[in-house]
Symmetry: C2
Subunit: 348 residues, 2 copies
C-alpha cells in the first residue's frame, strides 16, 4: 500500500510511529505500507522507493521536514503527489478550519478525483462537504475513511454503518467530547467551580488554551452533525443545531444533583419528532440507572436506537495522539480488507 501523508503534526508523527510498531500485524493483514510522501506546510519529503521511516521518525520535530537530508525539499507539495500518480492512499491530517475546510477539503477532493483512497482526521471538510466528497469517492470507486472525525478511537461511524447495517437508526445520543466530560467530573470530584476545573484541564493538556469549541458545545455539535448526516442520510448544517455549553454550570447545581445520584453530562442528541429531525447539544441531567452516568473522565459514548437491531451503546475512545493515529490505521486496514464506507446508498 503506497501512502502519502499530508500534515505532520502530533497525530501524523504518531501514525508514522504506529506503522513502524505494527509492522508484524500489518504483514499478517497482507499490508506492506510504503510511505512515499510526508508533506508539511512548507514542503515535504519524497522517496519513490519509500521513505526509510525508521530513520525519518527521529528527525527533530522543531525543524521543518523540507530540510530533511537528501529527499526533503520545499518544492515537494500536494501537486507532486498528483503529478506522480504513485500512491494508493492519502492520509489527510492538516489543521481544521471550520469556516472553509481548507486546505484539507481541496486535498481530499482532488485525491478522490484522481482515484486515490483518502482517510482524514479533519472534521471541517467532512462537516462542510461530506455528501459531495462521498459522491466523488463513489464515482471514482475509492473509499473515504472518516472514522477519526467523530470521536477518534470511539468507533461511532463504524457502529452506525457496519454494526447497524440493515437497520434504520431512529436516534443518536452521545457524550462526544472528552474535555467537557472531564471538566464536569472534576467539578464534582474536587468540589471546584467551572473556571478552576477548566484551568486544571488546561494544565493537564486535556483542554486547549482557547477552550471555546469544546466548552461551548461546538465540538460536540460538529461530531453530532457528521454522524447525523452520514448515518441518517441528512443534509443538515451547524445552524440546525440548538447548541448550549457547560460554562454556566455551578458547583452548587452539581452538588444538588449528586445528592440524588444524578450528574450533568454534555449530550448531543438527534431525534425524529413527527417526522422532523431535531438536533440539540447541551447539559442534561442523567440518573445513576442510565448507562451514560458511568461514562467518566475523557471517555466518550454514542448510543443509537434502531428498528430491528434494538439499542446499541458504544463506549470508549481513548484520547490522545496514539488512539487518534490508531483510528486512522483502523480505517486503513478496513479499506485494505475491501470494506466500503457506505450506508444504504446504492452504488451499483
Amino acid at each position: 500500500m503506497r501512502i502519502a501523508i499530508i500534515g505532520y503534526g502530533g497525530v501524523g508523527r504518531a501514525f508514522v510511529r504506529l506503522i513502524i510498531d505494527k509492522k508484524d500485524e500489518l504483514y499478517k493483514e497482507g499490508i506492506n505500507p510504503i510511505v512515499k510522501y510526508v508533506l508539511g506546510s512548507k514542503g515535504g519529503v519524497y522517496d519513490k522507493e519509500g521513505i526509510d521511516i525508521e530513520k525519518f521518525i527521529d528527525f527533530p520535530s522543531n525543524k521543518s521536514i523540507c530540510e530533511y537530508p537528501e529527499i526533503g525539499s520545499k518544492s515537494i507539495t500536494f501537486d507532486t503527489v498528483l503529478k506522480n500518480k504513485d500512491v494508493d492512499i492519502v492520509i489527510e491530517m492538516t489543521p481544521t478550519n471550520l469556516e472553509t475546510g481548507e486546505p484539507g477539503l481541496n486535498y481530499i477532493r482532488r485525491s478522490l478525483e484522481n482515484g486515490i483512497h483518502v482517510i482524514t482526521s479533519n472534521k471541517a471538510p467532512i462537516l462542510l462537504a461530506y455528501k459531495k466528497l462521498y459522491q466523488i469517492a463513489l464515482e471514482n470507486k475509492v473509499q473515504l475513511g472518516i472514522g477519526c472525525t467523530t470521536g477518534g478511537a470511539l468507533p461511532s461511524i463504524n457502529g452506525g454503518i457496519i454494526d447497524l447495517a440493515g437497520a434504520n437508526i431512529n436516534s443518536i445520543e452521545g457524550i462526544l467530547n472528552g474535555t467537557t466530560n472531564y471538566i464536569l467530573e472534576e467539578m464534582d470530584r474536587s468540589k471546584i467551580e467551572y473556571p478552576e476545573a477548566l484551568k486544571k484541564a488546561q494544565k493537564l493538556g486535556i483542554a486547549e488554551t482557547n477552550p471555546t469549541l469544546d466548552v461551548e458545545g461546538w465540538d460536540t455539535a460538529t461530531k453530532l452533525l457528521i454522524l447525523t448526516n452520514v448515518l441518517m442520510n441528512e443534509n443538515k448544517t451547524i445552524e440546525d443545531i440548538d447548541v448550549k455549553g457547560i460554562t454556566s454550570i455551578k458547583l452548587s447545581d452539581i452538588e444538588e444533583l449528586s445528592k440524588k445520584d444524578k450528574k450533568y453530562k454534555l449530550i448531543g442528541r438527534t431525534t425524529i419528532l413527527a417526522g422532523k429531525i431535531k438536533m440539540t447539544v447541551g447539559p442534561e441531567i442523567v440518573g445513576s440507572d442510565n448507562l451514560l452516568y458511568n461514562v467518566n473522565g475523557k471517555d466518550k459514548v454514542v448510543k443509537y436506537t434502531s428498528d430491528t437491531l434494538g439499542d446499541l451503546t458504544i463506549i470508549g475512545g481513548a484520547s490522545g495522539v496514539i488512539p487518534a493515529a490508531a483510528s486512522i490505521l483502523r480505517d486503513l486496514i478496513n479499506i485494505h480488507r475491501g470494506y466500503k464506507y457506505i450506508r444504504g446508498i446504492r452504488d451499483e
Copy 2:
C-alpha cells in the same frame, strides 16, 4: 444475491419476513435478494426463478414446508443446492448440537468448499471447528458470517474484528447471556429466590424449559470461547474454561450486596496472565461505578481492552427472533459490501 435458507424455525421465518420488509433498504445497498431454496428437516421448497416469499411467508407454520403447493417436495435437500450450483449464499439456521455440530457443520463446510458464502446462527459448528471452516472459506475466497453466534444483535464479533482492527486485544469481558442477566435482576427487583425467578423467566419465554445451558453458564462459555478463538487467534476448547453458573445464588446474598450498591452479574472473562490465556465464567460482584452495573434485563455487553485503541465497551443485543434475523441480515449486507470477516490472518 441468490440465497438458500437452511432451517426454517422462528429465526428462519423472521429472516424471510425481514427481507420482505427491508426490500427498499436492500435495494439502496444494491442487493436484490432472490430466495431460491428454503429447506426444513423433511424436505424443502425450490424455485429456480426465486420463491415468491410474500406468498410463502403465509404458509402455516404447523405444516411441513415440503407440502408447500407446486414447488415443495421431500426430495429437495441440501444436495439439490450443491448439485444445482445456483446460489451465492447459504443461511444456515439448523438446531444447535454442541456435541457434534451436525447437521449444520456439514452444511457449512460443504457450502464453503463449493464457493458459496455462509452466514450461520448456529454456535456449535463455530465452537467445534471455526479454524478449519475459516481456512476452507479462505481457500475458496468466500466469507463466513458468524455475527449471530455471539450475542445476536450485539455486534461483539464486528467490534473485535472491525472496530479494533490493527489493535491487539488484551482481554475480553462480558455479560453474554440475557436469560441469566434477567433472572439475577428479577431476584433483586421482586425479592424472590432463584427457582421462582427462573419460573417467571420461563413463563415469559425468556428461559427455556430446560434452562441448564443458560443458568449453568455454558451458553456464556460458548460465546466467550468463540470470541477468544476468533479475536485472539487461539485454539481453546470448552474444557479450558472454568465455568460456574448462577443456580446457587441466594436472595440474601443479593440483598446484602444491594445495600452496598453492588450486584451479581454472570461474567465471562478472558485475560492474559504471564503470557497465558485464562478463561472463566461465573457470578462476579460489580459495583455501581462499573459500566456493567447498569446492563440490565435481557441486555448484553462485551468489553475489550486493547493496546492502541484503548477500552471498547459495546452494550446492546436486543433478544428475540427479529434481532437475531436482523443480525444475519447485517452480515449479509456487509458481505455484499465486500467486507472480509478476517482478523490479522494473512490472506494474500
